[in-house]
């Protein structure tokens, strides 16, 4: 097991035997254009300073010039691995503001899509972080299985990554006639594949030694930093928005919130692996019971929100995603703020990576599941 060298924890000034290393902005293990300014002594990390802004696209400002249906399509581009959850958050926010009740069918479809998206996201996280830790084979297996979900998306909504499937008032198309069949086929298949993931990596002794006990985030710190999602739950912080503030079809179903205890990298890994099983359970509860009905309610051609402030949160694959809209009654919002889970999660990194080796920093980042446009939007 890697050793935590507490005696090296230091103060702020750079000492003679310390040096600075830039990890990123172009580095494979940062999963995007994130720059970590790291202060090292030998291999030991003394300080990590995340620098963001390299992929800032000004989405929040851009939305002020767009109408509400147009905003939805931009949210795809923030956390592109949770595109549907982001879409849904904006749609729910607009629907709540207008007090539109969407048909039951829409709720079911959205929830199934949420969980499929979560599966797809966790698969990509699994394979990419496997690759970070040196298991290249994992990368191919993860992408192979993710492909099935992307095909389901493509069949129903025509896009694979930037779905733009939710629209205010419902979903863009009705589900494809094959949808239920292909989802069930996927689940049957993936239930057999998931144990393979465990055999390949989770049970592997090298992998366990690199993650167990590394980068412990205590529950108190998780709450203090506002860490949400699987990362927070691994520290024992019960923060699942699907449980605590249920939306769409989540009130109708039974599922467990997977909580960890240790808060180390391995626990973050385990929680996500367990969540994949749970997502499949959720989909199975819903897929046969999609009620008949419309797939969207008719909205006005120009959607105008009443004056006021509206907030809606959803559980994206990385944690709590929130949309805060300030409206002055016009067809464009006055101000939009997105609360992205990655931002809060990333900034714990200095706190928990201090004193670990640089290879452990990679393990910590891998299990944090960072998506940079989500942090930087």
């Amino acid at each position: 097991m890697a050793e935590f060298s507490e005696k090296y924890i230091i103060t702020d000034e750079i000492k003679a035997d310390e040096y600075l290393v830039n990890i990123g902005p172009q580095h494979p293990s940062t999963h995007g254009v994130l720059r970590l300014l790291t202060r090292l002594e030998g291999e030991i990390v003394h300080n990590v300073e995340p620098h963001i802004g390299y992929i800032h696209s000004g989405i929040e400002k851009m939305t002020e010039a767009l109408s509400y249906p147009q905003i939805v399509h931009l949210t795809d581009r923030m956390d592109y691995l949770s595109a549907h959850m982001n879409n849904e958050a904006v749609c729910l926010c607009v629907e709540n503001a207008l007090q539109v009740e969407v048909p039951e069918r829409v709720k079911y479809i959205r929830t199934i899509f949420d969980e499929l998206q979560r599966l797809a996201s966790h698969q990509l996280w699994w394979c990419a972080s496997g690759m970070d830790l040196g298991a290249l084979t994992a990368f191919f297996y993860g992408l192979r299985d993710r492909e099935d979900i992307l095909d389901i998306f493509e069949e129903t909504c025509g896009a694979r990554l930037t779905l733009n499937y939710s629209v205010p008032g419902g979903v863009m198309f009705d589900i494809h006639p094959n949808f239920q069949k292909s989802v069930k086929a996927f689940i049957t298949k993936f239930r057999k594949k998931l144990p393979e993931y465990d055999k390949l990596l989770t049970d592997n002794i090298i992998f366990q030694n690199r993650t167990k006990g590394v980068g412990v985030l205590s529950k108190e710190d998780a709450i203090a930093f506002g860490v949400t999602g699987p990362t927070g739950r691994a520290s024992g912080f019960s923060c699942d928005v699907r449980k605590h503030h249920p939306y769409s079809a989540y009130p109708y179903i039974k599922f467990d919130e997977k909580l960890g205890t240790d808060g180390d990298s391995f626990m973050r890994w385990k929680v996500r692996m367990d969540e994949m099983w749970e997502s499949m359970n959720i989909i199975e509860q819903l897929i046969d019971n999609i009620p008949e009905g419309d797939f969207a309610v008719k909205m006005k051609g120009v959607i105008k929100l009443p004056e006021g402030e509206f907030y809606q949160r959803v559980e994206s694959a990385r944690g709590e995603f929130g949309v805060y809209i300030v409206s002055d009654g016009k067809k464009n919002p006055y101000r939009v703020k997105f609360r992205s889970p990655g931002f809060s999660n990333l900034f714990t990194i200095n706190h928990i990576a201090k004193g670990w080796k640089i290879a452990d920093l990679v393990a910590i980042m891998a299990t944090f599941d960072l998506v940079i446009p989500d942090i930087d939007r």
Partner: protein, 160 residues
């Protein structure tokens, strides 16, 4: 002494977990027909995209070179990034009335995000999403397209 045995046991369990992992990879190595890679450029002729696939915006014309676009401009308004420009012209019809019709429906493929909002906005279903996805080209100017074909007319019976 105990730690020595632990050390040995750890080595054996380590090797064992490695072998378990390798069993999985070996399974796929020896059953290559189960692998799922599409031979993409080679299978072009047989490759069928899903019918809802959003590849580009197209305007279908019938055999008489007629389309359904009235030039109302709703798609232009719905587009989040200005990929559509509607240029209309006025003509005098048979009854001597002035009328605005579409002159050019300009579509900038290079800016389009394939969000489908324009197709949803169109009241007469004049534009749809096409299946073509191989858009790469040497020349950027080819990305600006005029969707209504030269000399095309509006179909009979489309409400304006």
């Amino acid at each position: 002494m105990k730690s020595f045995f632990n050390y040995i046991a750890e080595i054996f369990s380590g090797v064992w977990t490695l072998l378990t992992g390798m069993k999985v990879t070996a399974k796929y190595f020896f059953t290559p027909w189960k692998n799922v890679t599409q031979q993409y450029p080679e299978n072009r002729d047989t490759l069928v995209m899903y019918d809802r696939f959003r590849g580009e915006v197209i305007m279908p014309h019938n055999e008489n070179n007629e389309h359904k676009c009235t030039g109302c401009g709703l798609c232009e308004n719905a587009c989040p990034n200005g990929s559509i420009e509607i240029i209309s012209k006025s003509i005098v019809n048979e009854e001597g009335k002035k009328k605005r019709i579409i002159d050019q429906h300009i579509y900038h493929l290079g800016m389009c995000t394939f969000c489908n909002l324009c197709v949803r906005a169109c009241p007469s279903d004049a534009i749809v999403m096409g299946q073509k996805f191989e858009h790469a080209h040497w020349d950027r100017s080819t990305f600006t397209k005029v969707l209504n074909q030269p000399g095309s007319k509006i179909m009979e019976g489309i409400k304006e």
